[in-house]
């Protein structure tokens, strides 16, 4: 069990995030599709949502990362990896197709559970299955690669 303060911080962040998405109307898939439909009747709002998030973060994050550690944790868990790989592109393209088809990315999808109808429950269930199956598959694949690697190493010896 983590410290209650850390859990409260996570809850506060979650509430702000869900409220922010709602205020920005990103929980309306039609609004998201209207942003992506650049050759149709276009709604540029989504760019302003990302802009707002980026401006706040671009100012706050460098200041926060000047600290030695977070307030209630030992270290910052910020991805250190900088090398670009094919996985990023493949995953991004697959995600983009799903996002473009229905107008739901993970944040709005989960926030919409606050007024869930059959459609929202359907897409969240499919998202959960897709995530679970992929994580399961990737974990198996990584283990397999490591085993193969170990076998090859053994052969060299």
């Amino acid at each position: 069990m983590q410290s209650p303060a850390r859990v409260i911080a996570a809850l506060t962040a979650g509430i702000l995030f869900g409220f922010g998405l709602s205020v920005a109307q990103m929980i309306d898939p039609a609004k998201v599709i209207n942003f992506l439909n650049i050759f149709g009747a276009w709604d540029p709002s989504l760019a302003f949502v990302m802009g707002g998030g980026l401006v706040v973060n671009a100012i706050a994050v460098p200041l926060i990362l000047k600290r030695k550690s977070p307030i209630l944790s030992e270290y910052f868990r910020v991805p250190a990896k900088t090398e670009v790989d094919r996985r990023l592109v493949v995953g991004g393209v697959i995600f983009g197709v799903g996002w473009g088809l229905a107008g739901y990315c993970p944040g709005p999808m989960l926030t919409s559970l606050s007024f869930a109808d059959a459609s929202i429950l359907t897409i969240v269930a499919a998202y959960v299955v897709g995530t679970f199956a992929t994580k399961f598959g990737l974990t198996k694949y990584e283990t397999y690669k490591q085993t193969k690697h170990a076998e090859n190493e053994a052969c060299v010896g």
Binding site: M1, L11, G51, V56, V93, G107, A126
Partner: protein, 145 residues
């Protein structure tokens, strides 16, 4: 080009709240506010750091409730899915698969990652944005026309 339903002020305010949320999570817990990453750790638990993830997701839903109760903005009564059930299932699966392979979504790569000037997040964001624009162009302009 025809512009419709453009709401720059509420969009920017909402986006800033999302940015504030990400800043709080980083400052206090040292974590990145990437929704697919946080939810992924709940859906397929790997290590013993579940509670903050579950609580964050519950927070998202509470945030949605507060918006509805507050009477702010345009509410949610007009919101409807734009596609039928089979398409929702395909879309949900693709979002789950893609964000897991690509290690992030609109929030983690698109907002947090870009703000940190991560080259990985830039590549991921360009990939899903381009793919989503092309998908909507095909579905709404070519097929839908």
């Amino acid at each position: 080009m025809e512009i419709i339903n453009f709401t720059p002020i509420s969009a920017f305010i909402g986006g800033s709240l999302i940015g504030l949320s990400a800043a709080i999570l980083l400052l206090i817990n040292g974590r990145i506010a990437g929704i697919s990453g946080i939810a992924g750790g709940v859906i397929y638990p790997e290590k013993g750091d579940m509670d903050w993830r579950i609580v964050f997701v519950i927070g998202l839903i509470i945030g949605g409730f507060i918006y509805q109760w507050s009477g702010l903005g345009v509410g949610v009564s007009h919101i409807q899915a734009v596609v039928d059930t089979p398409m929702l299932i395909i879309a949900g699966l693709l979002v789950g698969i893609g964000t897991t392979i690509g290690t992030g979504c609109t929030s983690g790569h698109g907002i947090c990652g870009l703000a940190r000037r991560s080259p990985r997040s830039l590549v991921a964001t360009l990939s899903f944005m381009a793919s989503a624009f092309v998908t909507v162009f095909i579905v709404r302009q070519l097929i839908g026309a």
